[in-house]
Amino acid sequence: MSDAGEYRLQSRTPDGPLAQKWDNCKNELKLIAPNNKRKYDIIVVGTGLAGASAAASLAELGYNVKSFCFQDSPRRAHSIAAQGGINAAKNYPNDGDSVYRLFYDTIKGGDFRAREANVYRLAQVSSNIIDQCVAQGVPFAREYGGTLANRTFGGAQVSRTFYCRGQTGQQLLLGAYSSLMRQVSLGKVTMFPRREMLDLVTIDGVARGIITRNLVTGEFESHSAHAVLLCTGGYGNVFYLSTNAKGCNVTAAWRCHKRGAFFANPCFTQIHPTCIPVKGDYQSKLTLMSESLRNDGRVWVPKKQNDTRSPESIPDEDRDYYLERRYPAYGNMVPRDVASRAAKERCDAGYGLGETGKAVYLDFQRAIKEQGEDVIRSKYGNLFHMYEKITDENPYKVPMRIYPAVHYTMGGLWVDYHLESTVPGLYVLGEANFSDHGANRLGASALMQGLADGYFVVPYTVGHHLASRPLPAVTTAHPRFQEVKAEAEGRVKKLLSINGKRTVTSYHRALGEIMWNNCGMARTEASLKQAIQSIGELRREFWENVHVPGSGSDFNQQVEQAGRVADFLEFGELMCRDALEREESCGGHFREEHRTEDGEAKRDDERFAHVAAWEHAGNDVSAEVRHKEQLAFETIHMTTRSYK
């Protein structure tokens, strides 16, 4: 541990009582006068909830914004696929909710591995997000009297989740996208679709621009700015099979990491309990069935092993509703990590369904009987439709079969309270940062965080950076841009020149298999060491034997994919190293060696109540240095997380 490294992990958590910290912070931030804002350029990479909301809000303030996405339109970012809902401490149902309770549930849900002050701020601004979205025209579900409706999500005993059927992410993203499009029409945002960020340019240690590749022409482009915001999502696709979109990748974050941004808690990944099980070796992605389904669906397996009866002919007394049995207080609404491990436990013990034995039932019969099919259709219609399309089974008639799958990544680039990384001027928002979800994210919190960061945090804090640091004029003619651009070009040329025998996808699949088997729902010292070795071998082979067809000077999806897989092949090793060093179980990180007698995660607060932040050193992942940010819990006491 170098002291210099830990010195760079100053969280800038403001003084004062928890509830006043954000106000205190805002009161001390330096401001840029309205008529001076137009002198500053800000780059926003990614157009999901965090990126679109940040770009729109900064442009509203008067900054010149350049917005980048790899898709053909900013409206397609993967936030669009979020289904269930968004949390807010409105307490509209009058059921006892408060900012404090949302804060507490979130930090407990994260198994006490998140920063108190950040999470409290998230809960504080949650209400503003709902207001903001309603004003944009987001058609949230309503009661017959016209007021906003709520549903319940895992890890909470109140109803605080706002939703638009099973497509809340789509509606929130289209809201943010509409604000972004408005700013484009006003000339305050310049949009760069079909661009991939390939590197970060720092000058005098400050982030001053990016290198992108135009995915249509293959051209490399330099863009300068006074601040760079990274809103590039998570790294779940390191597992190849995940609920992420095919294009989701770690490249932008990993490139920033190599330019000095510390990577925090990469081993914290979320395995979502209710996904459609894997079917064949051709499978290209996994599909989530929203957690909201657990409001009305009951999870079970047969009590007898190898029970081959059809589900409807298995009577209630022969069914094991294992979540209700093990966790009577929360039942089917336990948090995701708990529900996933419980499913794995039953399947590993031989009670899983079908040929693979890797599936459990999610059953709506009781809800349909009590509420009627139409009510269930109005709540989840699009999800049931999607399920039937994929599996060819009608979930109104037979229970869904589900199994856990990789869904979200809590780890990400380290940021302070301002959302600034260890590279000054580089801000990281949404899933790409690490800050709010600790070791496990509660359902309906990702949308909340993305929009909180973009609408209500970064518009304040980025101004402080612009106002308080000397930022000499820089253009893309600066030699640093030429150097970094040449390096990015060199990497693409190298990939095209190898001309080996194996396809990019085959390497990605192989990496995914290593990660899932050794660094997935359960991890051991031996499995992690094995993974580190296997990834190293695979990476070496990749650079000697990958085959990337076509040229680098036109639209070539294989080039895009090759660059992303190359970065995953490095990043995956860091994930395993992080999981190896964290000798405790917490949230989604489950080390077999550290469990209670009844199989629950066993934390070690003495040794691991800290954020692990990795510093890039040398050229090899094995040279990465692990630093610690000790987590201070001033307001709450760390307890054993129980949902029983």
Partner: protein, 267 residues
């Protein structure tokens, strides 16, 4: 359409190959064996591409991302139908169990002047973004919003607005229309915002500007054939076009009033 335990398929594919926007394209024929009926259509194309790469050929370019029917990236003409034979289904959610052993499948990009081909099956749909830029928003800033419950919205209005707002912007409506009209896409946004109180202050300018932009992008006119509704994977109905037409008429009348008073309009 369902046949459990259906055997693997052998298929002949006729795929549109076009190297660049200006190059001329043509159909190329490929044969595939051992296709599982449980595969999605895009997974079938993945298999084709892996095979092409192994044979030293360039893979087929096609847009795709979420593969769960919501991002709107994917979309090709399959045997002349936008997104293929299933109702309310995107290309990524179409599964091979819908096809028979020995079938020949024609696969083409969306065809419309406003959607130029980028490569193979990939088209440029940025015209849709420009239509939204023309007015598909509520002009408000972060921090200005009143409490979400301050304006009650009848549930049926909210549900009806959501029926329009579910548009995924894939472009199937344009591809399916013999006039390459973008009326269904444009009306979905107009109708969504017209049914909510939040969208009301700008409703006249919105519809006028969005329709003007639609025309400027060279999308065709609507002649009430309703192919768009049949092709729409999100189930957006043509009744939204009717609402947009009413909105347009009202706006045209009001715009004359407003211009007499010297008010109205937005920046």
């Amino acid at each position: 359409m369902i046949s459990p335990g259906k055997n693997k398929l052998s298929l002949t594919l006729k795929v549109w190959r076009q190297a660049s926007p200006k190059a001329s394209g043509s159909f190329r024929e490929y044969s595939l064996q051992d296709i599982s009926p449980d595969m999605s259509f895009l997974e079938m194309l993945d298999i084709l591409n892996e095979k092409l790469i192994a044979d030293g050929q360039e893979p087929v370019a096609f847009d795709h991302d979420c593969r769960e029917g919501i991002c709107g990236s994917c979309g090709v003409m399959i045997n002349g139908q936008a997104h293929g034979p299933d109702r309310e289904t995107t290309t990524c959610q179409l599964h091979m169990r819908r096809f028979e052993d020995g079938d020949t499948i024609f696969i083409e990009p969306w065809r419309a002047n406003a959607f130029p081909v980028v490569k193979d099956l990939v088209v440029d749909r940025t015209a849709f973004d420009r239509i939204i830029q023309a007015g598909g928003f509520v002009s408000m800033k972060a921090g200005q919003a009143p409490d979400g419950n301050s304006v009650p919205i009848p549930r049926q209005d909210q549900e009806s607005a959501l029926d329009a707002a579910v548009c995924i912007g894939c472009g199937a409506c344009v591809a399916a229309c013999s006039n390459a009209s973008a009326m269904l896409f444009t009306s979905a946004k107009v109708s969504h915002l017209a049914q909510l109180p939040q969208g009301s202050p700008e409703r006249h300018q919105r519809v006028l500007n969005m329709v003007a932009q639609m025309d400027k992008e060279k999308f065709g006119a609507c002649t009430n054939i309703y192919e768009c509704e049949a092709a729409c994977p999100a189930g957006v109905k043509v009744t939204h076009i009717a609402r947009m037409n009413r909105e347009y008429l009202k706006a045209t009348l009001c715009a004359q009033e407003e211009s007499k008073e010297g008010g109205g309009g937005h920046g």
